[in-house]
Amino acid sequence: MTPAVVAMSIIFVIVLAGTLIGLRAGKGREMNLEEWSIAGRSFGLLFMWLLMAGEIYTTFAFLGASGWAYSRGGPALYIMAYITLGYVVSFYILPYIWELGQRHGLQTQSDFFERRYGSRFLPLLVSLVGVLFVIPYLQIQLTGLGIIVQVASFDQIPRTVSMLIAVCVVAMFVYFGGMRSVAWVSVLKDLLMIVAALSIGIFVPWHYFGGVSPMFHALAAAHPTHLVMPGATKTMGHGWFISTVVLSACGFYMWPHTFGAAFTARNGDILRRNAIVTPLYTLSLVFILITGFAAVLIVPGLPNGDMSLLVLARKTFPAWFLGVIGGAGALTAMVPAAIILLTASTLFAKNVFRPVFAAQMSEDSVARLAKVMVLVLALTSFWLALHSSTTLVALLLLGYAGVTQFFPGVVLGLFWGRVTSAGVIAGLLVGLALASFLMFSHRDPFFGLNAGFVALVLNFVVTIGVSFSTRPQVNPLPLPAEERP
């Protein structure tokens, strides 16, 4: 057997095992919309942690983080900071969202906007924008899968074919499984991912340099500026770091799927305890960054930094272990892709299609439409992944610049009674317009600051300004403290 066959067979077995575990978990439960999309609000701390880690540690963390450490250097450290601070922010937001979800039967992000602001236009806008901006996130996962198969098959299977296979597997999985299946596959995925991260991050520096310390000394001697900001870039200095970390930490739970994860918890305290435990998991990213830094010296000159971790693994390990790493990578792409597809399609069916086209639709028809949307969204992102060539991190930053514009509407909606729907709509539109303009006209970073952050600041100003100049509204979703006279 050639190394390519060995590696690919092992990846295949791992993906198959993951799929079977997932599908078994969903068996024997009645699949209504609430069970399929938010697992019937039943998750405890362990499952919550699995689901959240499943959402966060995606191909982006695996290939994108090492890719940036390789191609950009110091700026890649932003990833460790923003994920940790994203959990810090979640501590102050998610338990309240859960509480309101429980009391008022909310299932999606746009349910929250609909009930809080009593507007018909706002939830529609939120859903459409949400679905639109998760597409780059979905594209990250497919591109990652494509890279994995390409490297593990020793360039014998073209990326297009492997992405097509990946799309089919993920879509089938979501179609038949649902959210509970996804959380179960996360078990296997996280286990493999930790094994892969530790073995590469420890073995590679030891094998080539005799340890982590000699590796960093060699790198600092060969490329003195690579390890600090702005690293290999010209624009990603400290201003960029601060603005990007603040933007991404605020946006961490503004994705439709991460926001929606709050509803799967059994109670609000689970979400607080999750914010205590989960930051520690970010430590595993250190090993992945180390791999990217080591690759600068060992496999220099790769055309695409996102390939660095796998190319290094292929050079260092026997084929079967490349298969294990590739399999771990494949699951880290499939699990988040499945969660995103599930949430985005529910959002489209329930909060865009039903209110606009068929107000009388039953929950069952919504569930059926959502499953059709799974296929539509999967194929759309497949098409986009074929036609774009940006890095994984660039795609993620684009998505963050978009979804974080929900942040003022969520935070002010929870804690400030004076905010009005007109204010939120105006702020959201201005923020989205500015973020898109700056990013698509290549003005990001804007005067050294992340373009999405600049848009977020203006969004806050406009939301508050317009709220003060419109008539006060009654808050239909008050927190308990405000109910007392």
């Binding site: 110091g74 450290l77 460790m80 900071a81 940790t84 601070l85 959990y87 810090v88 922010v89 501590f91 102050y92 338990p95 309240y96 509480e99 340890g211 982590v212 310390s213 000699p214 590796m215 960093f216 000394h217 600092a220 003195p224 390890l227 600090v228 900001m229 400290h238 770091f241 601060i242 970390v245 603040v246 930490a249 609000g268 607080r272 305890r273 914010a275 205590i276 435990v277 930051p279 520690l280 970010t282 430590l283 250190v286 960054l289 929870l414 804690f415 927190l479 308990p480 403290a481 405000e482 109910e483 007392r484």
Partner: protein
């Protein structure tokens, strides 16, 4: 669940100071600690400290809920 207390919010700002706003002071390679560049080591340290801060904030909220005014 009442809105977060001021003390809990202040505790939540500490990790932002440590990992984000102070970046010009810790973004350097030397001194290397445990073989890691100083900035990487600093972030690892603050990941652990952030978890500690969250545990503290949780304590604060927990004790407030126990003795705090109950909603009718």
């Amino acid at each position: 669940m009442q809105r977060p207390s001021l003390i809990a919010v202040i505790i939540g700002l500490i990790p932002f100071l440590g990992m984000c706003f102070t970046v010009p002071w810790w973004d350097r390679v030397s001194p290397m600690i445990f073989g890691l560049p100083f900035n990487l080591f600093w972030l690892m340290l603050w990941i652990v400290l952030s978890s500690v801060c969250m545990a503290l904030a949780h304590r604060v909220e927990q004790s407030r809920r126990k003795k705090g005014p109950t909603t009718p």
